[in-house]
Amino acid sequence: MKAFNIIMIIAWRNLWRNRRRTVLTAGTVSLGLGLLLVFLGIGDGSHRQMIQGAVGLGGAHVAVQAREYQTRGGIERTLSNSQVARVSPWVESQRDGLGISYVLRRVFAAGLASSADGATGIRLIGLEPEPEKAASVFDEKLVRGKFLTSAEETGAVIGEGVARKLELEPGEKFVLMAQAAGSAEIESLLLRVTGIMRTGVEDFDQATVLIPLSTAQELLRLGDSVHQVAIMLNQLDNSEAVARLGRQELPADVEVLSWLELMPELRDFIKIDDGGSYVFNSLFFLIIAFLVANTLLMSVLERRREFALLDALGFTPTRRFLLVILEASWIAVLSVAVGTALGYAGHLYFYHKGLPLDVFYSSEVSAGGTVIDPIIYSYLSWRRIAGAAGLVFALTFLLALLPAWRGAKGQDAHLLGQA
């Protein structure tokens, strides 16, 4: 232990023999780590905004559906009232523990909307107006009119694209036709437009019609059945854990999906985006790595005589190796401390102020089935910070291996006699 202590001390003091070089090296790594954390924060923040945006547009953090509804669909594949009744107590029992904020019942169907000016295929969502208004972003996306109410049973909120095709304005009527469950009959219903929404997601705005749940159930002859019980959480990160618990505790005739399974397009978009970021970040760090590796190697090569002295004094190759590794580790410790502080400061700035990207694109840009917000707010988890810090440590350790091996090798005894 005493030997280790003195090696630690020598390593630390060696750092400050060439103060400028140490500051430059640690500064480069710190800056690299700081920027990496800012990039990660912006990336994760944008992904979370996309996920929350998609969840708010008829998605869910966790969804309970009839088995195979996700893959096979079908209007008859519903959760019966008794199945919903079994889900509700579980949700209530977990509400506080899992941070469940809203539970929403929904039905979905394809249909045809027509007015005097035309007809268009639509995707119908039957929902509970009051809780949906609080939990979703439909209300915020209204450009004209108002949102649904339970009292207004024939009211409908339509996407701006639908309104344009059918030349509808709030207060005007249109006919909605859809195939009823368990029958070949086409049911139709006269609805009145209460509001028009623009989400920025082209596909959504071109084809979505929202109506009250009870109206949709009646139109589709579903009785009390629904297609989905959407669970909204306070914490996005809990989605998978809640879904896992649901799969364990809910009956086997329902499927419990996290947003990852519910919105595969978005999940895949994020994966691809993450992949691109990893490549960029890796290249960025590779450049820094070469710089650090060069500095570490130089610092050993210019101290060959000192390593020969240590060898002569009985400092074993293992200890000489350890000395260089510890010098690199001190640089890593300093860099991680400063880099994390820098990165966290950057994160805090973008967390509060946001990164405005509206210079490059408008609020109408969508990807993965959701809109990309033109102002991105950073989100940085401790896991990300720990991962990035771990990467710097691991990288510095790897980069120190060659200089450490050179320092351990010795065989420079001839230098000891030189003045």
Binding site: M1, K2, A3, N5, I6, I9, I10, R13, N14, R17, R305, E306, A308, L309, L310, D311, A312, L313, G314, F315, T316, P317, T318, R319, G410, A413, H414, L416, G417, Q418, A419
Partner: protein, 238 residues
């Protein structure tokens, strides 16, 4: 393979060290044999380039003979790996160099106690020993100075303190007085002699200074890597 001799501390048998420089083979040592017994105070004399430093390096296992054998005690150095050789130096050999070679980031006290730290000697014992040693070499009050804040003579005293702090069986000194003024050089030689006399430490030091040679009890003359003469001289009464 061991070849023990109760009297001998260091034994060289037919040691040669050749270096290849470009197309030429340089003979730094050629068929060198001698034995150093415990408590000897030996000078390796010879002009520059005669092989003195190479000989000391070979004795410490820092350099390896092209042919021949070196024994320290009953251990054949050629049979030890780099780790074992480093351990051996740590446990049994003290080094004093011409150019002091202190660890620049450690204070005088830390340099002096360096070997003891590596050996894991308890704090109290280590501090007492080093404190006494620094006092003995005349560096009291300078314990916390770094090498850059000490004169050449003071640095060499620290190097001596470091070399003898762990009471090695053998101290190898490569021209220890070469960079010192006359007074400091003699003061250092006095110290080495005293340690040899009082602690029985074996000293093997290289020099080309006749005044230093006079203090040795035995002088091995090297010329072009070969032993030209090996003389024992009468030990003056102190």
């Amino acid at each position: 393979m061991s070849n023990s001799n109760s009297e001998s501390l260091l034994r060289l048998e037919g040691v040669s060290r050749h270096y290849v420089q470009g197309d030429q083979v340089v003979c730094a040592l050629e068929n060198v044999s001698f034995t150093a017994t415990r408590g000897e105070f030996i000078a390796i004399a010879g002009p520059s380039g005669s092989g003195k430093t190479t000989l000391l390096n070979v004795c410490a296992g820092l350099d390896h003979p092209t042919s021949g054998k070196v024994w320290l005690g009953n251990r054949d150095l050629s049979e030890l790996n780099r780790h074992q050789l480093a351990r051996l130096r740590l446990e049994e050999i003290g080094f004093i160099f011409q150019s002091f070679n202190l660890i620049p980031v450690l204070s005088a006290e830390e340099n002096a106690e360096f070997i003891l730290l590596l050996r894991g000697v308890p704090d109290r014992e280590r501090r007492e020993k080093v404190g006494a040693l620094l006092k003995e070499v005349g560096l009291e009050g300078m314990e916390h100075r770094r090498p850059g804040q000490l004169s050449g003579g003071q640095q060499q005293r620290v190097a001596v303190a470091r070399a003898i702090a762990a009471e090695p069986k053998l101290v190898l000194a490569d021209e220890p007085t070469a960079n010192l003024d006359t007074d400091t050089a003699f003061s250092l030689l006095n110290l080495m002699e005293r340690l040899n006399r009082e602690h029985g430490t074996t000293f093997l030091f290289s020099t080309h200074d006749p005044r230093v040679m006079q203090r040795a009890h035995r002088i091995i003359h090297l010329l072009d890597g070969r032993i030209e003469s090996d003389q024992r001289v009468a030990v003056p009464q102190m």
